[in-house]
């Protein structure tokens, strides 16, 4: 699965996610990626999210919408909302996954409960990126 979330200079937020699903899925199986509020969500008032991981887990938990809810109702930052929602999902359903989030203030949220998640963002002419917990790399755009 691949995904992107952006906020432009006018504060417009967009999110996009694309996938081949999971290896060995039954033909006809639909995952979280095309489901709004699960694989993808964007609202200029709340933020934008793209998720990845075990699709059945993410769609049953409504991961993207849970992150939006934490930002809206619990006033959590993008990072705290993303981290808490991923942990709650795995705590409750065992399956793992991750998400990237941008809130209306341009704050970022990056978290995953899987072993690894590839992530990268560009800000002020620099690329920040990583794939393992606790490791961040940087290079000029």
């Amino acid at each position: 699965t691949v995904g992107a979330v952006a906020i432009d200079r006018n504060g417009n937020i967009a999110a996009a996610t694309s996938t081949g699903g999971i290896t060995g899925k039954v033909s006809g199986r639909i995952g979280d990626t095309p489901l709004l509020g699960c694989g993808t969500y964007a609202d200029n008032l709340l933020g934008g999210v793209s998720t990845t991981g075990h699709g059945e887990t993410i769609m049953r938990f409504n991961l993207a919408q849970k992150i939006m809810g934490k930002i809206r109702y619990e006033k959590k930052t993008a990072q705290v909302a993303t981290e808490e929602a991923c942990k709650e999902m795995t705590g409750r359903l065992i399956g793992t996954g991750g998400a990237i989030t941008i809130d209306p203030q341009g704050q970022l949220g990056i978290y995953w409960t899987s072993q690894r998640m590839g992530w990268a963002y560009v800000k002020s002419g620099e690329i920040f990126y990583g794939i393992d917990h606790g490791k961040q790399l940087k290079e000029p755009l």
């Binding site: 432009d8 999110a15 996938t19 290896t23 990626t33 609202d43 793209s50 793992t96 992530w119």
Partner: protein
């Protein structure tokens, strides 16, 4: 507001061997997408929607990612693709599922959002819609990579041994060093 673009390249038990390809692919996606957010000479700034579509398109072409070229295989050794895109102003969105042999499902999803009164198309109708709107139907199975075949072969071997495959791998880890059936 300072424009920002963030991408992910998938989550799961990604093997060491696949890390460099993913990291490089994501950086390429950022470089392609950010052009739509920051005006460069002669090019006016696009929109967040253009930026996320451009970034995802780059990764759909890259076999290091489970999307487009290099996508996972289903039990029938076929690629079935799905995507969604959404903008936060009017909450417009486009979603597609069960596409096959089309390189950019994300662009088909955007086409659904911008050219129909609907939000979600799936299956044969979605495939027909894509072809009617100028998307190329690639030769059958041309999106399949050797890694994907190996990952499916390994998955079937695990199934045959009666190992739990509930959390089928979301990432191709055909060259996973250990045979552990990692979650998700």
């Amino acid at each position: 507001m300072e424009p920002i673009l963030i991408v992910h390249g998938g989550a799961g038990n990604i093997t060491d061997a696949r890390c460099p390809g993913k990291l490089n692919g994501m950086k390429q996606a950022l470089r392609a997408g950010i052009k739509h957010l920051i005006p460069t000479e002669g090019l006016s700034a696009g929109s967040a929607l253009d930026a996320v579509e451009a970034a995802v398109c780059i990764m759909e072409c890259d076999e290091n990612f489970n999307a487009g070229y290099g996508a996972c295989l289903n039990l029938e050794e076929k690629v079935e693709l799905e995507a969604s895109i959404m903008e936060g102003g009017e909450l417009k969105a486009g979603c597609v599922t069960l596409l096959h042999d089309i390189m950019h499902p994300i662009s088909v999803a955007r086409c659904v959002m911008q050219n129909t009164k609907h939000t979600f198309l799936g299956g044969v109708a979605a495939q027909k819609f894509a072809l009617e709107h100028g998307f190329e139907q690639l030769p059958e199975d041309s999106l399949i990579t050797e890694d994907a075949r190996l990952a499916l072969k390994e998955f079937k071997e695990c199934q045959a041994k009666g190992l739990d495959t509930t959390f089928a791998r979301t990432e191709l880890d055909a060259n996973q060093k250990s045979n552990e059936q990692g979650p998700s």
